[in-house]
């Protein structure tokens, strides 16, 4: 295995900011949520890669990655529930409809 760790970091960073970009531009709430998943996956890549290449004797990053997946799942579940709730009350899940609270 002779791929520099930086390459993985470039990958994860790009993915991370693709997620950020998505979060900022998507109009659909679920789309935004997907972008969050991209972000979390980018982070996970980091954890795993660091564990694998830099500190392979302990499983810290590895386990962290597992927990991130679990938490992400839980988070997504609640988020989708909330989005459905939004849809129920506003008949829409366009991000622009949740701009009532402001200033």
């Amino acid at each position: 295995m002779n791929i520099p760790v930086e390459y993985f970091l470039v990958l994860s960073t790009l993915l991370f900011f693709i997620g950020v970009f998505g979060f900022i531009v998507r109009k659909n709430l679920i789309g935004i949520l997907m972008s969050v998943e991209l972000i979390l996956n980018a982070v996970n890549i980091n954890f795993v890669v660091f564990n694998r290449f830099l500190f392979p004797d302990k499983l810290e990053g590895y386990i962290y990655g597992l927990f991130v997946i679990v938490v992400a799942a839980a988070e997504t579940a609640v988020a989708i529930a909330i989005i459905i709730n939004v849809y129920r009350s506003m008949k829409n899940i366009d991000v622009n409809t949740i701009k009532e609270l402001k200033n």
């Binding site: 531009v25 991209l38 694998r52 290449f53 004797d57 997946i69 529930a81």
Partner: protein
């Protein structure tokens, strides 16, 4: 590194898949297509884990993410009527603004990352190619250092709370129903 070694080819392939589908999933106008792209991304990331010989986490990635979360997304999309067919058009301004943020972030992060000399642990390859399931299990269930019983227990509370929370939020107002 050798550009055309098997490893690097696999890596670049996976990386390309991840990035291309990642971009598609955030730019496509069809929400279902985005979900599909997301699925590919997650799939490729699982492949990456496998490539790093962490098969358990790859499996989890596949089952929880690709199998669970994406399905959840699809359900949600379908539940919310008509949205599957709707297309979103994002204004250029918004894209520009988002692009600036993303680009700036990438630049700053990468510059900083490359300034830091990561020292690859020489023993990395020496360690067993795949992490054994038993090791993972012991790590999760142990109470010593670098073992994670407590977070494991805590996450169970988290999951329980999230389940209850989602149910409460998602269920229709009972009074309304009556």
């Amino acid at each position: 590194m050798e550009l055309f070694s098997a490893n690097s080819i696999i890596f670049f392939l996976l990386a390309t898949i991840i990035l291309v589908f990642g971009v598609i999933s955030v730019t496509t106008t069809k929400i279902l297509r985005a979900a599909t792209s997301l699925f590919f991304v997650l799939f490729a990331i699982a492949g990456l884990y496998l490539f790093l010989s962490y098969d358990f986490i790859a499996a989890v990635q596949l089952s929880v993410y690709a199998g669970g979360i994406v399905v959840l997304f699809v359900f949600a999309i379908l539940l919310v009527k008509n949205l599957g067919e709707e297309t979103e058009k994002v204004s250029c301004q918004k894209k520009l603004v988002g692009g600036i943020a993303a680009a700036a972030g990438v630049i700053v992060s990468l510059i900083t990352i490359f300034k830091y000399g990561f020292i690859i642990n020489e023993s990395a390859d020496a360690i067993a190619e795949t992490v054994k399931m038993q090791t993972v299990g012991e790590t999760l269930m142990g109470v010593d250092q670098y073992q994670y019983l407590l977070p494991f227990e805590a996450s169970s509370i988290l999951l329980l709370a999230c389940i209850i929370g989602s149910v409460v939020v998602a269920q229709k107002n009972k009074e309304e129903k009556r």
